[in-house]
Assembly symmetry: C2
Homo-oligomer: 185 residues x 2
DNA sequence: TGCATTTTTTGATCTATATCAAAATCGTTC
DNA sequence: GAACGATTTTGATATAGATCAAAAAATGCA
């Protein structure tokens, strides 16, 4: 089954007609390591899923890259600003491995929200779950030391460490690579 | 008009029947400064609005209080964990001024989501807006120094400074009161 | 008005993490 | 398996912010 449909189903029931229409609008593509899905300032707004691969979201602050999140297989995600508002993205989304992507554009989704109001239940559940994840990150940044933040990340995304270099992890944690290296010792 | 209904309307159209039923379930109460709306571990889960007053959400870490957010008049809020999941709250919500509150229980709301599926549109929009706010807080904690975080807060909630003491602000910013005092100089 | 309590500021010192530079290790390719 | 670039670690020093203690200022209240 389409991996994006599979994700939608986790949040609630989809009637057949709606599901069929969603499926028709889902676009598949594959990307090579290093390519971008989305660059800062663009309006590319989609929910998407990787059936294979790995991505990071990052932005620039004082000329340096800062990673805001990593995405692995079979999670649903999007760039919050362009997906939930009319504003363009302030972040870049880049593939860290060769990846296969299933995406649905927010414009298409909005049409379907109108046509199948029950679909809003799923949209609501997704946004609510995003809130939970974001809140955990806030608590981590607000209350934890560098070491604790590192340990939290390992618990949450244990595979990341094998797939991503330390510089990326450090930038996500908000510390320098040198500090992360010392922490790990 | 009921201040909570007023908030719901900001997010989308409500048909009359749904609106009437929501209104019937909204509870009004007033609380004195210092009283609590919700304590850690409880399941009290509601969306609510203050027509008058001020609240803070806080939790304990290593025996110290840490403020997670402040709520002023005519914003809709709730404690994310109990409102969006079955889990109890890890935070406490306390009134910092004598306040007047309009609240609707999530159980009631869930019933109405079932009865009036269009209502999910509003629920979705609210959760999406919460995501935006949370993301801004993440960026602030992730990338900004204490001074910058202080300036961001002033921009976002300028009245807070006149209504809340510095200790509360410092704890929200994740710094000590002494540091905040020096920053302001 | 004066006293007690709370809040804010100041001072001295300590600690976690940043910065800059260089060395060590790992991975890839010819 | 030698040589190159990328990644990670180590070292020396600097800095933002924490901590603990106390003084100063503001606030509330009898």
């Amino acid at each position: 089954m389409n991996p994006l449909i599979q994700q939608f189903r986790r949040y609630g029931h989809l009637n057949e007609a709606a599901e069929k229409e969603i499926e028709q609008r889902i676009k598949y593509f594959s990307k090579r390591k290093g390519e971008h899905f989305l660059k800062e300032g663009q309006h590319v707004s989609s929910y998407f899923v990787l059936s294979k691969g790995l991505i990071r979201a990052y932005f620039f602050k004082n000329g340096r890259e800062l990673n805001s999140w990593f995405g692995e297989e079979n999670q649903i995600f999007g760039s919050i600003l362009p997906v939930y508002t009319e504003r363009p993205s302030f972040e870049n989304i880049q593939f860290l491995e060769d990846s296969e992507v299933y995406a649905i554009a927010v414009d298409d989704l909005n049409e379907l929200y109108r046509k199948y109001p029950e679909l809003n239940l799923i949209g609501r559940k997704i946004a609510e779950e995003v809130c939970i994840v974001l809140e955990e990150r806030i608590i981590s940044l607000h209350t934890e030391s560098a070491i604790e933040r590192y340990q939290s990340l390992i618990k949450l995304q244990p595979n990341l460490l094998n797939r991503v270099n330390l510089g990326h992890i450090a930038s996500y944690l908000g510390i320098t690579q040198e500090t992360l290296s010392r922490i790990r010792r």
